[in-house]
């Protein structure tokens, strides 16, 4: 449980908790309406008459009309990842808060903890690239050798991401380079080791970890909920990622 800070009013703590929850969810890639719902649920705890959480794809603003005057906070959120577990957990915390199971200080401490949660270690994360590539090729009808080649290509992609991640490349460049290394691995596999593999299936399986399915789905749901700004910016993100994948594959064919 968080220690109570006497100098801060309850309203202030509520606003900070809501902001923290919203920021964490937005970074984890939640739909805008879900972020706003959760923040409003937390803001409701303050019993203030009027409060608003306004969330864009790249930033959050909230206003709470408390007895001591308006509290307004805004925050820019440039990071973008996908972590459904955190969205799920924070959603649960906000529901527990609104039915009175926990108080706001406990909720704040919980959310601080959730921000750091990772279910799976780095090795498993890397292996999931191999798994997606390998079984995707199997799903599309590749035979045993195709699947193995796709697994190796997926491994190349995972290793590239692991090497490049600490340098702080932007996502376009990161996606492009890792697709490139994946495709180079796959194509050289076909040229030098196994000439009989179906290179199309191997590369399609290999790009699957990066192809923007997640953002696309979220973009569609945002658009439908009337969050057009978020819908458009996520649609653009989808297009940019797809373009990065296409450029990566194309470069591999140009090189080899």
């Amino acid at each position: 449980m968080a220690k109570k800070n006497i100098s801060k009013s309850l309203e202030r703590v509520v606003a900070e908790t809501a902001m923290l929850a919203g920021e964490t969810m937005l970074i984890a890639g939640a739909e805008i309406s879900r972020v706003e719902d959760t923040m409003n649920r937390i803001l409701n705890y303050s019993k203030c008459e009027s409060h608003t959480a306004f969330v864009l794809a790249t930033g959050i603003t909230l206003t709470l009309d408390s007895d001591e005057g308006l509290i307004t906070m805004s925050k820019r959120v440039p990071d973008r990842t996908t972590n459904i577990n955190r969205i799920y957990l924070i959603n649960n915390v906000s529901r527990a808060l609104s039915v009175g199971k926990i108080d706001i200080y406990e909720a704040y401490a919980e959310i601080r903890k959730i921000r750091e949660i990772r279910q799976f270690g780095g090795v498993l994360y890397g292996l999931s690239f191999v798994g997606v590539a390998l079984f995707f090729t199997m799903m599309l009808g590749g035979d045993f050798m195709d699947c193995m080649a796709a697994g190796v290509a997926g491994l190349a992609m995972a290793i590239t991401q692991w090497i490049l991640m600490p340098f702080g490349f932007n996502s376009f460049f990161l996606n492009m380079i890792s697709t490139l290394s994946m495709a180079v691995t796959a194509v050289s596999f076909q040229r030098f080791v196994l000439p009989n593999i179906n290179i199309d299936l191997v590369i399609i399986g290999g790009i699957m970890p990066i192809v923007p399915g997640v953002v696309f789905t979220t973009a569609m749901r945002d658009t439908l909920n009337g969050d057009y700004t978020a819908g458009v910016s996520r649609m653009l993100e989808t297009g940019v990622t797809a373009f990065a994948v296409a450029v990566g594959v194309a470069l591999a064919y140009v090189i080899l």
Partner: protein
């Protein structure tokens, strides 16, 4: 066919690790993706039109996600995002890039295909989300 469907299940579960899906929902998400892919393959046998395949299979996936979300009391996206994965037009994106590099005249065909599949998925998500938001009108006495 059996191998393809099993492959879809494991691929979706592996993808769940990547997007950090809560552990307890992984099997259900995998099943959603697997059934979606099964439907895709079945529809593909009847008529060879990728956009129809994607549309019908996305409709099934979205409906299933909404039902699972209500039964298990979890957000819809827990099942929808991994479930959609098998029908995301990764193959078409690849073929676009390939055609572009080889200056093939199929480029516009594949570009078209990508947009059609993406549009079908969007339409299916729109439709099912809207249907599940319906409620009986509240009448004032």
């Amino acid at each position: 066919m059996l191998f393809k469907i099993i492959g879809a299940f494991i691929a979706v579960v592996a993808f769940c690790i990547m997007i950090e899906l809560p552990k307890k929902y992984m099997v259900q998400a995998g099943l959603t993706g697997m059934i979606g892919w099964g439907v895709y393959l079945l529809v593909d046998i009847i008529g060879h039109r990728v956009e129809i395949d994607a549309l019908i299979s996305a409709l099934c996936i979205a409906t299933m996600s909404h039902i699972l979300a209500r039964v298990l009391k979890a957000p819809v996206s827990n099942f929808l995002i991994p479930g959609i994965l098998p029908i995301v037009p990764g193959g078409s994106i690849y073929r676009c890039a390939y055609a572009f590099i080889n200056e093939s005249s199929y480029l516009s065909t594949y570009m078209n295909e990508t947009l059609k599949i993406a549009g079908s998925i969007a339409l299916a998500i729109f439709f099912v989300d809207s249907v599940f938001k319906l409620h009986l009108p509240k009448r004032k006495n």
